[in-house]
Amino acid sequence: MTAWYVALDVLREAASRRWLLALFALIAALLITVGLSLEMRVVDGALAAVKLFGQEEREVTVQAVDVALRPLFRGVSFFIFFGGLFFGALVTADFAPSLLAPGRIEHLLSLPVRRASLLLGTYVGVLIIAAVAFLFAAGGFVLVLGVKTGAYVADLVYAGLLGALTFAALYGAMLTCAVFVRSAAASAFAGLLLFAAGIVASFRYEISPSFSSDFARQVFEWVTMFLPPVATVGQLAMDIAASTPVDSGALARTMGGMVLFGVAMVALGVWRFERMDF
């Protein structure tokens, strides 16, 4: 329960962060721009023409509007997923180091709060912020296009949810890095490194044959086995956004693994945090 109060405290603190507010303002500005600049002519559920930034109406492939917009949803999903992870890692990097800042950590430890709850609460609080950002971007886009076309396609929101769950893996590593190093820059670096390594891990079977040494290949396969397959999940998010059927069992396993990876990282951070003297 105390972890939940810590999470609420993180949310309160987030409301005063300029970078975080700027991120939400940027998302809102993009959504408003799309809403104001895009005009669509829809006839009986079929997209007939598109007008962008007041330019002359352009003929498009005449097709059921949700089908015609699938490539757009795929592109937007790519932007939200990968952009969200990248900017999310940068914007949230400061939360954990500020929790451990001299003066504040001593004050927090003087309260009847277990150390594990402090870290867990911070983790949950940041994940709530990330989830709200992902769902705000995806849901806002669905809403804007829904108002324009009359077709509300919720699949992009599910794709946004995959982004939030993937961020759980990244932020687990960022939080633990902050416990070890107590630096916002190092925390952001850890997040971005895991983001890049996760993309590499998604293509481990394609990459591993290129190693000439058996030992190097074995090491590569062992290391990447433990890394979250970020690009695979990104591709799945795009598939879901474009209403392409996916193997739900395999998807559930991958996402379960992502969340466990994040929790494992937090457990590692708690182990280190329990041993620290302040």
């Binding site: 003929e59 097709q63 397959p229 695979t232 693994g257 494992a264 182990w271």
Partner: protein
Amino acid sequence: MKRLGWLLLAVVLLVAAAWLMRGGESVDTGPKRTDVHLPRRATPDDVKRMHRRRTLLPRKPASPDAPPIVEVQDPVLRALPPRGPGDDAVVVELNAIRHSPAAEMFLRCMDEDAKQKLQELRDKFGVDPLQDLDRFVLGPNETVLVSGDFADFDTSALDGLKSQASYGDQGTLLEYADGQYAATWNDEMVIFADSLEEAQGALDRLEGRTPVTESALPESAAYGEAYGYVGPELLARMLPPRDGLEEQLLAAAQDIELHLDTRSDVGAVFDVRGDDPAAVEELGVMIGAALSVARIKARTDGDDELSQLLDMAKVIPDGDRFRLEMAVPLDYLRKQLGACAEPPAAP
């Protein structure tokens, strides 16, 4: 030990996470196979087939004193009468379709009664519809032309045959009791016509006795497993019903060129052209809307397979013309036909 608990938990969770994530690697990502091949232009195989069919055919010189002219042309296209506005001229590549994956499935599902009827046709006419026929053409003036191997074709087996006589170098004219006529040429073509003039005209064009006019079907349009020009009524019948659609088709569409591909799945392209770009654009939007409404209805009715088929139907506008594309994946046909469509298990 208590302090090591978190470390142990981290290791256990990390191993469990790796097991789950790697287990999910079977996730099939990326664009799914919805890319049914559509006959938007001639493929190299179509061009090869076109060249293979070109035959040396005599052509009537412009003046009687001029030397004889021989040119290479597909005899089936040469035999067709000229096409007037709104006339149909459709070629169906029977042999190619017969050996397509879709037709193979239909043949596997053919019942004994149908097999028996095919055998009766073979016995009666000396022609095997599944082996000897190459092309079926529905030409202008209701001319029907069938090409293939007619070396063993027994014309005397035709019901109501009144008389037959040789005509020209390699032709035979046949007259029926009901006033219909037919012509055979070089054991490779049978032409059915409404009048003697039509039947003779086909043989005259083939043997160069009449000036060659523009073919009902240019070689450039001869690609796919079915191709040619169809009337607006046929297209209207293929589309979901919509108020005013047929009238708009009749008013706006001057030419509707059809191409069908059955080499893997079944894909159809209708290239619709008209003189009035605004009317053609409106027609395209009407067709797109009709397909969209049909798709919504299919989803509402819980017919997911039809809904997915309609997902693939689209109208691509291009000035005074538009392309209507429709596709039927082989998997859809397999599901519709059921277990009989599966190939027999290898022994």
